[in-house]
Symmetry: C3
Subunit: 156 residues, 3 copies
């Protein structure tokens, strides 16, 4: 018997750094390109990826990540995170990965659904007005499990 | 045909910062509120969330997270992590998310099962006495896959 | 009716710190020991775990992780990450968890398949020559979903 194909993915984006938010977006985009249903659920700092005023200002973390191969004393210098961010964006652009706002628009246009986590929204005192127009609604964890029925939950 | 509902979640908590441990707890709690079976498996630094002496001392990371919007030079100041932690706890309290020990108790009373990762327990020289009473047992990865049968594995 | 056992896991390794990469390797190894099919997909900084020149140089993050219980002012000192790394490696060795290169070899010999993420490979200008010999191939997200059919996706 053939193995059952992945039919749906419900991806939680929980991190607000550039390298923390992109994997979830890339996996959602990749899913839609294969005809796989895709939900994105933004929670905790990951919520910044759909906040209009912040979505294009996500930065690379230059401290706390030894794989950056940058001493903390260098990584903490003012401007260093902005520099690393600009470098990574340049490389992403070369391989056709767009900035967050365009990427969100592309993923939405491809049919993915975007949700904001109610607990985080309440904690940070946000409203629907703060989110980009592609945001479907603010839902709680229970509702998230409901929309995830029949698919895979991927927490990033 | 209706999509198959999520029936069980087995959530791995691998991080020991406040914002790293809470998402797993919130997802386990949300699962139980919907009648979904829930297992929690604490591993690596996430183990601190069930260590009696540490579970209520988890702190927010103020460096290494650009979404904190705090320069590393500020985030590293002594007391800054304690300050951010106290702020986040206050906001969480407002939306009825309790401190870790009470939250663990609530999730346990709602029927979730809590497990400690054997490899981490051995690595950090811990014993069952170090863990809160809600901890069911210390299990290895193989046993974790066994208790996860029929459900979703969510690594946080 | 008995619950359906986990038959396959497809584990994404996205982090390049020692404590970030090991959980995925441990879960893949544990899967194979139980006869569970295992795929490893290395992406973003996690790719370092299969880059020949870097795989044995992964380091513990001593800043940005409050569970290290080390003030940032101490964690950032030159040599501190190397020290914490050497300590953790010693403890891992005691519980028979080998260095990354040996662990990768062991997991591969046990039948797991290892893949590198195409987008990251392109972004970091890498080629197959950079990867350890156990690396099967460079695949994109779509192909990853394909090899994940019939199993669980676990993002670490």
């Amino acid at each position: 018997m053939a193995e059952e194909k992945i039919k749906k993915v419900s991806i939680v984006v929980s991190k607000g750094s550039l390298e923390g938010a992109y994997p979830g977006l890339i996996m959602a985009n990749g899913a839609r390109m294969e005809g796989i249903e895709a939900n994105l659920f933004f929670t905790f700092f990951g919520l910044e990826a759909i906040i209009k005023k912040k979505m294009n200002k996500l930065k690379v973390a230059t401290v706390g990540n030894p794989a950056m191969h940058m001493p903390t004393l260098v990584g903490m210098l003012p401007g260093m995170s902005a520099f690393a961010t600009s470098m990574m964006k340049k490389e992403m652009d070369k391989i056709d990965i767009p900035p967050v706002d365009e990427f969100i628009e592309m993923i939405y246009d491809a049919g993915a659904k975007l949700y904001a986590c109610k607990a985080t929204v309440d904690m940070f005192h946000l409203t629907m007005d703060d989110f980009c127009e592609q945001t479907d609604s603010i839902i709680n964890v229970g509702k998230f499990y409901e929309v995830s029925a029949g698919g895979q939950i991927i927490f990033t």
